[in-house]
Structure formats: C-alpha cells, structure tokens
Amino acid sequence: MNSEKNEREPLFSFKNRKLLLNPLNKDNPITVQVLGICSALAVTAKLEPAFVMALSVIAVLAISNVIISLLRNGIPPRIRIIVQLVVIASLVILVDQFLKAFVFDVSKQLSVFVGLIITNCIIMGRLEAFAMSNKPWPAFLDGMGNAFGYGWILIVVAFFRELLGSGTIWGYPVFDKLGLYDVGYKNNGFMILPPMALIIVGIIIWIQRSRNKDLIEEK
C-alpha cells in the first residue's frame, strides 16, 4: 500500500480552505448561484433580523451537512431527499425553539421565515451536491462557507436597507443624531420594500463581476 495515501490530510489543506473561502466570493450562493433569494428579500429590512437569520442558517447548514455526511453511506438513494428533509426540519425546529426562548422579539419579526429555512434552496443544494458524497470534515467546512457566503450578503443588504430606509444602524438612530432630518433629509420608503433588496443584491453582483472577470459569461 502507498504510505502517502494513508497519511492524514491536514485540517486546513489547500482544498479545504477553498471549500470554506470560495463560497464567500466567487461561488457565493446568493450572487453567483442565485439561491436563497426569497429569504434575502424578506428579512433584510433591518440588521438585527438579518443577522439572526444568517446565524440560524449557519447553524442549520453546518450541522445538517455533517449529519448527512455521516449518514451518506446508509441512506438508500431513492429516499434520500426525504431523509435530508427530516434532518433539516428537525434542526430548524430546534433553532426556532431556541430563538423563541432567547430572542423572542426577533423571532416574531422573522415569523415564518425561520420555518422556511427548511425550503431554503442553499441547504438542500449543499446536501445534495456536497454532503452526500464527502466526508464529515469537508462537509462541515462547505456548510460553513456557504452559510457565511449567504450571511454576509444578507448583512450588507440589511445594512444599506436599514440605514437608508429607516435611518438607523442596529436600531441606533444615526441620521437623527447627525441632524440630517433638520436639513430636509427624508427616509427612503422604497428601501423598506422587498424590490429594493433585489436591486441592492443586483448592485453587489455588478460590483463582484466587474472585479472578477471569471464570473462573466461568454456571449
């Protein structure tokens, strides 16, 4: 036997680092794969719910990726979607209960969208595409990477929407303290509406593509 193959791969080898870091930028689930858009539009009117939503998705995606990866050899292919759904649903219920217990206000703001993490395309997508055919550690990194990629977009969008739409950052009235309202500034009501989230995501995609030429499709 080849002794080199038996040697353990370092925890953060080049390949593993890429699993973690690629989804943050050039494999981003929202801006490149265009998954999970629905929740990105719905929960980003304020920073706090967006942050909690990002944390919830990080928890659910990382843990479910590991669990499915551990189970991958025992899952019969014909019912694998059902198994995946059971795992995700149980985790989402856990997260939901946790939020209700500790941050009830935010949980009320997020309303159905916590439950709808179950249908978040990113999670099903990663389970199908990665966890089903990889070991637990890479699966964990992949889950973390994708969830963080989702999370930072959410937070950036929420930052601009809250700042321009309500004039606050995390509830703190920035524009009011700066005295902008006294000189005639008004909050942009359009920012509160979901279409504006789509436009901001669009602008992020625009910036990302003009910086990274690999992402531009051939005509």
Binding site: G184, Y185, K186, G189, L193, G202, I203
Partner: protein
C-alpha cells in the same frame, strides 16, 4: 459659428487616440456633435446613410416638449398666486414658475449627464444622447414642490439602475424618466402624491388636490370643468396639465415622424374603451364620468404623447405598437378607477407595458413567420 468650428477643429487632434487628452475623447465627441451636425455616416448594414444621428431626433422631442414646459412654468406661478388670492401680471407669474422649475431642470441635467459622461469615459464609448430628452421629461412629470436633492437621487437611480446597468441608451427595458418618477413615488410618497404638493408655496386654507385626487375620494363634483382641464390651469405635475400644449408637442412629433402615431392613437383608444366599459357598469360616481374625460385628466395625454412613444422601450413592430398602446390606455384607466392606492395609473401602466413590449414583439414576429410559412407551403403544393 465659424469661429467655433475653427476652434473645435484646432483642438480636435489632441483628443484622438494616443494623444494627450485621449480619455476625454468621448466627451469631446459628444460636445462636437451636439454643436454641429456630425460628418460621420453609418458605415455598416442596410441603413439609409446620412448624418442624422440620434441627437437630431432627440432635439425634435425636446422642441416638442417646450410648449408643455413653458405652460407648466406659467401654471406653477398662476396656481401659487391663485391660492394666495393675489393678482399678478403675466410676467410676474411666469417668473415665479420659472424660478421654481428651472432649478429642477438644471439638477436633472447636471446629475444625469454627469453620470452619462462618467460611464462613457469608463467604458470608452460615445456619450449617449438619450438623456437630453429624459432630462427634460423628468422635471415635467414632477410636482413643483419636490425638493431638489430628491430629484438628484431619483435621476441618479434612473440613469444607473434604469439604463446604464443594461448597457446604456437603446438597451434599457424601462423608460428612464418614468423610472425616476416611480422611484420617487415609492420612496417619498408624501412628497409625490396627496394634495399638499401640487401648488408651490400655497396658502394653507386651500386643499389643492388634483382632479384625479378629487375623483378618487369621491369628490366628483369638485373636478374642474373639461375646458379647464383642456387648457390646463389646474394643479398637477409641472408639464402634464395642459392638453393644448401637449397636443402642439404631439403635432411636432407626428409631423417630423419622431413619435409613432400608432402608439398615440391606440393609447387613446385603449383609454376610451376602458372608460366606456366602466360607463356600462357605472357602480360608483367615478365610473360614471364620460370616457373622454379620462383623456384630459392627469398625465394621460402627456404619457400617451411623450412616454409611451419612447422608441427604445415601446414595441418595435407595427402590429405590436397597436397592442402595446391599447393596453397602456386600458390599464391606465383601470388602475385609476379601481385601485385606491394609485390615483394616477399612467406611470404604472407604461412601465408595466415596457416590460411586456419585447414579448409582444416576439409573438407578432412569430405570427408573421407562421403566416408566411403557410403561404409558402400553399405555393409549393400547387
């Protein structure tokens, strides 16, 4: 004129490729062809080869807008003095309106053209002329009391998100001027609708609602007489009130061929048909007003003449133009009468149909292909 031409010819070499001011080449080109008819002709394709470029067509539209603009300026002053109950002579009235309207126009052009120039430099293409018209239309569809910074934000939004992301003039899906208005409408509703904004510096005692605002809340008897709405000495957006001024513009557009008669005609037809349908049901007072009155209320005439006919965002095929226009008229009146949140339906109707224009064209072309195939098959069978 000759001195100017000589001056341009003298500095021109400095802007050519490889020279000192190469990066401002497109800026120079834009000013040169704005001042003088371009000496370039179309080189490729089966076009008529002359030097009428887009700037000349756009200039015609700007000229057609001038009656509405001048009337709008006068009307802004007239409404102001009327609400205060003061008497003012013609020039004082006009001057007041001019001082209100002119800053809006300046802000629009500075912001819009500024962005256009930046994009032209970065992308290395010629400056797009489309903004000459857009920058003139935006002020005309805003209320006179709009804060200038809002005009700037909306113009920037319309030019960047409405036009430049799609590739600039000729590639945009939505009419940029209406994008600016829609942005303001949703972002700052209290400055764009209601009855507070339509008269500049008005007396508090007056409500100053537009005819559409009155009609929607059921004050049908408060609507001005048709003659007033036709002449246009009523509160409203700066350029939309006078149907006479708009008709002069329409005549210029049709005479020069810059606007499509098919679209104008079918928008009017669509509005009339929907008005008649409402007359048939006539459940409430708003539905009972004569169908033709919808044509002279609010922004219907302005939208039909200047915005539905935008050659970029309208349907391209002749049959498509009829469908496109008809549905705009239909939807505008439908939204007006049925939807309590939107007193004026013209903006949303045109934007909505802008989105559908390519689809309409697609099916018109498909139908034509099918028809000709059928004919060809018949010939072969004989």
């Amino acid at each position: 004129m000759k001195a100017l031409r000589n001056f341009l010819d003298k500095i021109k070499p400095q802007f050519e490729k490889g020279e000192k001011f190469e990066i401002f080449g497109s800026t120079f080109e834009a000013f040169e062809s704005f001042l003088f008819v371009s000496d370039k002709v179309t080189s490729k394709g089966s076009h008529i080869r002359d030097s009428i470029d887009m700037k000349r067509t756009m200039s015609v539209v700007v000229i057609a807008l001038i009656p509405a603009l001048l009337f709008g300026m006068w009307n802004v002053g007239y409404q102001h003095f009327l609400s205060l109950g003061e008497q003012a002579d013609f020039w004082a009235t006009f001057w007041f309106g001019f001082l209100k309207v002119f800053p809006i126009i300046v802000v629009c052009y500075v912001v819009g053209l500024g962005i256009e120039f930046v994009f032209a430099q970065v992308r290395g293409h010629e400056v797009n002329e489309g903004f000459l018209v857009t920058g003139m239309i935006i002020p005309l569809i805003l209320p006179p009391e709009i804060p200038l910074w809002m005009v700037a934000v909306a113009t920037a939004f319309a030019v960047i998100i409405g036009k430049e992301v799609f590739g600039g003039t000729g590639m945009n899906i939505l009419n940029p001027a209406l994008t600016a208005r829609a942005f303001l409408f949703f972002a700052y509703p209290s400055d764009m609708s209601g009855d507070k904004v339509w008269i500049a510096e008005k007396a508090d005692a007056l409500t100053g609602a537009t005819p559409l605002g009155d009609a929607l809340v059921g004050n049908i008897d408060k609507i001005p007489s048709p003659l007033e709405m036709f002449i246009g000495n009523i509160p409203g957006s700066i350029g939309e009130t006078s149907v006479i001024a708009i008709l002069i513009g329409a005549f210029i557009l049709l005479y020069t061929g810059a606007g499509s008669w098919r679209i104008m005609f079918s928008v009017v037809l669509g509005g009339l048909v929907m008005g008649w349908i409402f007359n048939l049901f006539a459940i409430n007072e708003y539905m009972q007003i004569p169908a033709w009155e919808h044509l002279i209320m609010g922004g219907f005439a302005f939208g039909a003449v200047f915005m539905a006919t935008d050659p970029v965002t309208a349907s391209q095929t002749n049959k498509g133009k009829f469908i496109f226009g008809f549905l705009i008229g239909l939807l505008a009146v439908l939204i007006r009468v049925i939807n309590p949140a939107y007193p004026e339906g013209m903006m949303l109707a045109i934007l909505f149909m802008n989105v559908f224009a390519p689809l309409i064209d697609h099916y018109v072309i498909e139908a034509n292909i099918k028809k000709r195939l059928k004919r060809a098959k018949k010939l072969i069978n004989i």
